[in-house]
Symmetry: C2
Subunit: 578 residues, 2 copies
Amino acid sequence: MASINLNVARWTALPLGVVYGLWHSNSLKKSAVKERAAIKYRHKEELINKAKAAYYAPKKIHIEGASQIGIEVRKDADFSTWYTQVLKRSEMLEYYEEVSGCYIIRPLAYNIWHEIQSFFDSAIKKLGVEDTYFPMFVSQRQLEREKNHIEGFAPEVAWVTKAGSSDMENPIAIRPTSETVMYPYFSKWIRTHRDLPLKLNQWCNVVRWEFKKPQPFIRTREFLWQEGHTAHFTKEEADTEVRQILELYRQVYEDLLAVPVIKGVKSEKEKFAGGLYTTTIEGFIPTTGRGIQAATSHCLGQNFAKMFDIVVEDPSALASSEGKEAKKLHVWQNSWGLTTRSIGVMVMIHGDDKGLVLPPRVASIQVIVIPCGLTVKTSEEEKKRVEEKINDVVKELNSVGIKAKSDLRDTYTPGYKFNHWELRGVPLRLEIGPRDLTNNQTLSVRRDNGVKEPVPLDKLTTCVSDILNTIQKDMFERAKKVYDEHVKVIQKWDEFVPALDGKNFVLVPWCEQEHCEDKIKEKSSRRQPEDDKAPSMGAKSLCIPFEQPTEPAIVPGETKCISCDAFAKRYALFGRSY
Amino acid sequence: MASINLNVARWTALPLGVVYGLWHSNSLKKSAVKERAAIKYRHKEELINKAKAAYYAPKKIHIEGASQIGIEVRKDADFSTWYTQVLKRSEMLEYYEEVSGCYIIRPLAYNIWHEIQSFFDSAIKKLGVEDTYFPMFVSQRQLEREKNHIEGFAPEVAWVTKAGSSDMENPIAIRPTSETVMYPYFSKWIRTHRDLPLKLNQWCNVVRWEFKKPQPFIRTREFLWQEGHTAHFTKEEADTEVRQILELYRQVYEDLLAVPVIKGVKSEKEKFAGGLYTTTIEGFIPTTGRGIQAATSHCLGQNFAKMFDIVVEDPSALASSEGKEAKKLHVWQNSWGLTTRSIGVMVMIHGDDKGLVLPPRVASIQVIVIPCGLTVKTSEEEKKRVEEKINDVVKELNSVGIKAKSDLRDTYTPGYKFNHWELRGVPLRLEIGPRDLTNNQTLSVRRDNGVKEPVPLDKLTTCVSDILNTIQKDMFERAKKVYDEHVKVIQKWDEFVPALDGKNFVLVPWCEQEHCEDKIKEKSSRRQPEDDKAPSMGAKSLCIPFEQPTEPAIVPGETKCISCDAFAKRYALFGRSY
């Protein structure tokens, strides 16, 4: 029999069938079953029958069921099992057994993606970006047109070689990203500077057949994202947009998902394959001390424009040209992407030992209202009054746009329901019982910190709205504080690896040379955090933050690189990462 | 030199560069260029320079340019060229040269898809359907679990066999539809009748590698769609939902796209592979006299539930069962889908010789406001007043939710702009010139029928709103009238083929036997409409309409099948189809 580790508080919240199962397997006394059932049912016969029926119901009899209502491992004890359990048991995600590295995004998670889409899509529409959809297939010839680009993606490309029972003449790749799919048409559509800027975006799936260990949302072989592709007349316009988009990405993470990030630019080694420079927002998972690239906004420069012949005539030369062909100018391009990885980062940062913790702004249920304090002595009439009040409360909250729902199921105890909705991360619980009716109030319980507070029913909507705002703010600020505490500004190599081993990022003076970055990775990979089985955990440069430390500031030609003999250019953020 | 077929009205609307090109190639006199340019520019030198510059601008010099501003062929003369030109030149779609049968959906078309999504998605949410995303990959083993199903789809499945440079152990299919992807998880998630109904939907891409001639939107190898998959406890619930969804599909076509459809049920031969029965809405393309399946809502019965072991215990048996395993019941399932084909159907039905005609409800620009009547004599001040008024008009229309835009480009003539926006199907044009300012009015011109009507500016929003509603209604009613006229109720086989050849559907008493359907197809494929090169154009059963003719009604055991010796069961709609 699987080990059972239940305190009274937990097993009284178990469903009847599971309790009966525990008794049946000699883990609980029969009296305990009756006691448990008495909470819900008046007649013992009825109860025993119900418990038995629940016990014998297929697929619910196993003892494993006892653990399936909650999370079995502590987040800080076994992070990777914890992560998987939270995702599966909250019904955010299901493992797809047929194809490794692919996962099923269930409604609870998809709704978060939908919130992100709504926010980001309306923001980019205001920047003049338009919707499009390009095919997901790309020929080998096309894919290989930009050399650095294909070098970056080739090892991960999935190839279609057969249709029906026929072999294809030429294999066709599934897009890992759509630069090479789109840019031949940019060349076709862009003819004069009046066609600029061209700003397109698509929400779609992409495939990167990675051979590293997959992890739900974080590293998956198929994932959902948006990819923006734009062309500009000047570098200045392209630069401006790169930053505008990065700022929107920051807002998605910080304002919606309550996940703090650091903005910066990638090193040459880490930039997008084929691009000019890559800006990024970098997140931090405190439990593992590892960094995670949250979203990137690339300036591609004129590199792809040259490969794909995306040119406009020089308008300044036009007026004076008499019959001569006008000078051609290559356009400046950007591409930028945000993926479903964002959902995983949010779970890793905010989830706790009870399960998911959702920031109110992305929760599809923000408030769950649960009847409490109903005992065997409660009259049917009183029970009805409680339920009516609960319906009123839900209606009132909905009327001001708060996503509230009730849980009036009579087959479960309040305790079970608490666990059920805590596991699913609902930000706020309201409990309403007969006594609350008398006092015209409800007890609110915050998911993020467990704080309980009575809410007068005549100030319901303002109070609940305030609490939700506070939760959103507190979640971000707590995470931000933790992040800040784990960024160590250091000047000496000796402190580098110990800081990493203490689950920190380091912010260090750096020469920005690629061979130096390789060396740092090598030197820092000697030791590994115990809870991580990744083969190489050397530190890499995460970004060169836009916001640089000023104490002490880098003195050009004086401050040395943390690792080599060259002079430092700027502070760079290094860390172990996903 | 390509043949030039321009009347004065058309060439005066040409861009300067093209006019200069015509002159340069001795097709027009120099004076004509000056005359044309004088419409726009006061100084002849400036004009000659501009015309030259435009002429020498790369990619714009070719004579083909003359035709690229409009549609070159008549819809009724060469439908397939017309269709392609409308899509490409209105910038709805681009041919994807890399992979045959794939197309690029450009913003003008994607916006229509977005409108359809918004409408349909919010409607199904009200039915309790939730968003999900399943992987697009499915293993061969899984795909083949339902025998009839795979027989229907196998010839069109695209297979991934390679990742990076490695061959995969087992080839993986790209979903042609997701029954076999999803249902193993339905089996996992559905345990008791309380888990029902389960209602999931995803918006995604699917791949069907058809070898028939592809046609943009109508038959493409990758397309976008939504696929709903639901499970119910009773057949009644499943039946009800099948009809609810079909009704929503009717609304998408008739109320949004102004495309009339006929609701009915498919014959056994034409139903979804592996399902119990298929309901459908069938559209009609008058120009070719061919039918087109617009959307389908399938009841899968318990067939997939049996293959994938999707069961719940019998709740009625539970109470009485004492220790025995409860009886298992298979769930009832539906699946239903609507694709980007809908956009193509709308274009085919409403487009005309000037290009696209968009119903106001799906047009991303509903009203285009164009300055008119500005001549060389118009003062700068007056010009400015016109532009200011136009901006006010746009602002006022936007403020009440009407999607209005102005075209103030000063490099193009009003005539050019008329063509430009007519080609793109904008439902209503407002012209404003100096005289309109005086009269405090604007001239409205409907795209669908060319009707001009002055609109008093002090009743702007109500008038424009009324006109848009009228356009929407008229477009549907005109199309509906044409459809109705082309459905011939006939009783004798002798009339069958002549009716088809007259570009009609026929509604005939039918025995509903599969071999009879095959025979009808064979007998009706002797003759082909001239404008169609499809290899086999025999008629097939499109649906058995829910609304049956009553004059004469079918008399069971008396009315004979149109084609064979058996008795007719119901009237069936037959036609040549896409």
